[in-house]
């Protein structure tokens, strides 16, 4: 009896390992492929699509090309970094402010505001693209000025993404606030000296999510920077390489560019993974 249970369990585990290894191969394959193909030279081999994975000769041509000055890759990269940096800073501050106000204070119109924002969030974001483009154009924040424009638009609407952070604030006992208020602390003081220091995990989560988003922003970025090469972010530039220049063999150069983008973002994410998991699980349960 005991023995059959054990063998059953061993078989179960073997099957589990086989499935997990298969899953790992499938999940890692695109990344391995991306890295391998980024080392295929576009000069000695074909830089477009080929039917083999391993390059015939290892080469850094693609990487050299990125920094050769023939393209604006460095510019695109720093554009994205700048956008990500400012969006992260401002968006985190705004979300913290909104979450504190909605979680801790009771004011007339609070429920109404929350319901109104919820309904606003149900409109598809691209609906307003043309109007936003025009608004930005009025201030000279398109094409050459696309970078501050993109930051402005991302930051301006970020108040609506308060759910996860407010959910976290709600779990901090209100008794703490009341005790501090009896001691004469103002709301602002409680916010800055009590709540914020206690919210490190959620601040990191909010900042991480804000930092990741600009790296994937293709839609609005391509619309606002339209035709102005200097203002592209990496997503717009790399997508253009893949779609329009395939016949020139830009595929391997896209791979190299993609690898350089993925490495720092991935490392950062892995490093802060714990906070991300806390944030999404907390958010998922509270809805």
């Amino acid at each position: 009896m005991n023995k059959s249970y054990k063998t059953k369990r061993t078989i179960g585990n073997v099957i589990a390992y086989i499935v997990l290894i298969l899953i790992s191969i499938i999940w890692l394959f695109p990344f391995v492929g991306l890295v391998l193909q980024s080392f295929r030279s576009y000069a000695t081999e074909y830089g477009g699509m080929v039917d083999y994975l391993l390059p015939k000769a290892f080469s850094l041509d693609n990487y050299k090309f990125l920094f050769s000055g023939e393209t604006n890759y460095v510019r695109w990269y720093s554009n994205t970094l700048i956008i990500a940096f400012f969006v992260t800073a401002f968006q985190t501050i705004i979300i913290l402010c909104v979450s504190y106000a909605l979680s801790r204070m009771r004011f007339a119109g609070r429920e109404l505001l929350m319901r109104f924002w919820l309904i606003l969030g149900l409109f598809p974001g691209f609906l307003t693209m043309i109007c936003l483009y025009f608004l930005l154009k009025q201030f000279g924040l398109t094409q050459a000025g696309a970078i501050p424009g993109l930051i402005l638009v991302s930051v301006a609407s970020s108040g609506m993404g308060y759910y996860v952070c407010k959910g976290y604030f709600d779990t901090i006992p209100k008794a703490l606030d009341e005790a501090a208020r009896i001691d004469g602390a103002t709301r602002a003081r409680i916010f800055f000296t009590m709540i914020i220091p206690m919210s490190k995990p959620i601040i990191i989560y909010t900042a991480l999510v804000a930092f990741m988003a600009p790296w994937c922003d293709y839609v609005f970025a391509s619309y606002v920077a339209f035709g102005h090469d200097q203002s592209y972010n990496v997503a717009v530039a790399m997508t253009r390489w893949v779609w329009t220049n395939d016949y020139q063999g830009y595929f391997t150069r896209f791979c190299a560019g993609g690898v350089l983008i993925a490495i720092p973002v991935t490392l950062l994410f892995m490093f802060l993974q714990k906070y991300y998991v806390e944030g999404v699980t907390g958010g998922a349960v509270k809805g």
Binding site: L28, F123, L127, F134, V280
Partner: protein, 465 residues
């Protein structure tokens, strides 16, 4: 349930009417009972507070009034006055010179803005009256008015919410509310490629565009709209539930007792979330292309003769998208499920095991009901998110393969949102894009608000505790 929400609503409407009545009563009573300072404040905002020493409040109120009139006379009125026609003077060429006429786009945009300004003006007017009333009552009761310093400091204490919310609310108004109202208006105009400002005028056409959307003639969008809507719903349903159950399965597999290197397996999967989607999705798109790696190897190994049209066959493209989406979706669900699985009390499983239940039975009667209950709202958010899942579709297929049978340049794998995007960017068919946008809103709202109330975990919060 339905009865109680119904009652709640009527109560809300009732209290809404009640408060409107209250507002008008306040305006009247304050005027009749107020002194000359209050009475003059009806015309000059903040006059009363300033004379009573409330310089700060008074000055802000007065400033807002001055700003409003300055804006309206210098800027707003010229647009607001033309909003009923959206402009009548067309841009013309006189000799070699272009003489610009009315710009319908600006008239609509700033007309909407001015309409909001008018509303805001009346709100400030009312606040100004209420402030006067409050001060008079305080003085009558023999109390002192707060000093200007106290009023200012209250922005960091009692009124801290106003300080915190001022910028976010303003930002959302300018960059979300105003554009949405503008686009809703566009749905009722003929703004498209042939009516582009500033060279051409556009104007109101009533429900014309909505009729076009549901008309089934040769020019109508009806059949296309139905097909795209159906695929959007099918996609959202499959993408949500396939990912959900597979993700749950993988999480259980990793959590299984005796499986080692749990962290390693999780980290491998989490890579998908960490790597920016445009890198991974564009690579995968190329992998499945006709001349891509997968077809290349399959042909080389002699398994197939000609390339499998992963992206060019309508049905196959849909299946490939759903499969690739599993690759994206599982890690995310695995993370969430892992956290939640640990919350299920171990003794539930223990007693089930003693009763002789096998793994499948335990999953069916403990794990699954618990997970479905707890993650109900999350599944719903996932579903509405997938209805609007732009990235996956656009990076993989851009809505292709194209079809001659579809109107408005829609492709076979287009969702409503990607179709909306194409209409804006490629066709500049803004009027229909706006109509589609409103439809997306309606569909999303039906699921988000309608289904939400029916979820067991919302109905019965204590159910599983």
């Amino acid at each position: 349930m339905a009865g109680s929400t119904g009652k709640k609503k009527t109560k809300n409407v009732g209290s809404g009417l009640e408060s409107v009545k209250q507002v008008f009563k306040n305006i009247g009573v304050t005027f009749v009972e107020g002194d000359f300072k209050t009475k003059l404040s009806y015309l000059i905002f903040g006059f009363g507070p300033m004379l009573r020493g409330q310089i700060l409040i008074g000055a802000v109120l007065l400033l807002l009034e001055v700003l409003f009139f300055w804006y309206m006379t210098g800027f707003g009125w010229q647009y607001l006055s033309k909003i009923s026609t959206l402009g009548t003077v067309a841009t013309q060429k006189v000799g070699r010179k272009t003489v610009y006429g009315d710009n319908s786009f600006l008239i609509l945009l700033f007309g909407v803005l001015s309409a909001f300004a008018v509303i805001a003006f009346f709100v400030v007017w009312y606040l100004n009256i209420r402030e006067n009333r409050k001060e008079e009552l305080l003085l009558k009761a023999g109390k002192k008015l707060p000093s200007n310093k106290d009023t200012f400091l209250s922005l960091f204490d009692k009124n801290f919410d106003k300080t915190l919310l001022f910028l976010p609310v303003t930002g959302i108004f300018v960059f979300t509310v105003l554009p949405i109202v503008f686009m809703i208006c566009v749905a009722f105009t003929n703004y498209d490629a042939n009516h582009q400002a500033p060279s051409n005028l556009f104007t109101w056409v009533g429900l014309e565009n909505f009729k076009n959307l549901v008309s089934f003639g040769t020019e109508g969008f009806g059949p296309t709209f139905l097909q795209v809507l159906l695929w959007t719903l099918v996609w959202a349903f499959l993408a949500t539930f396939i990912d959900y159950f597979l993700g749950l399965g993988v999480a259980i597999l990793i959590n299984k007792k005796g499986v080692r290197f749990k962290k390693l397996w999780r980290t491998i999967l989490v890579m998908t979330i960490a790597v920016p989607q445009f890198v991974s999705l564009l690579y995968i798109m190329k992998m499945f292309a006709n001349d891509g790696l997968i077809n290349g190897y399959l042909i080389k190994w002699g398994i197939i003769k000609t390339a499998i049209p992963f992206w060019t066959d309508p049905l196959l493209a849909k299946i490939t998208i759903i499969v690739v989406n599993i690759w994206i979706g599982i890690p995310y669900l695995m993370l969430i499920a892992t956290g939640l699985l640990m919350n299920i009390p171990e003794d539930l499983y223990e007693s089930a095991r003693i009763d002789g239940a096998n793994g499948w039975q335990m999953f069916k009667s403990i794990t699954l009901p618990y997970m479905l209950f707890v993650t109900g709202p999350f599944i719903l958010t996932q579903f509405t998110g997938n209805l609007n899942n732009f990235n996956v579709i656009y990076l993989l297929t851009q809505g292709k393969p194209q079809s001659m049978n579809l109107a408005g340049n829609a492709g076979n794998t287009d969702l409503l949102v990607t179709w909306l995007y194409k209409m804006t960017v490629n066709d500049t068919n803004y009027k229909m894009a706006a109509v589609i946008g409103i439809m997306v809103f309606i569909v999303t709202a039906i699921f988000a608000l309608g289904v939400y109330g029916l979820l067991p975990s919302v109905k019965d919060e204590e159910g599983f505790q």
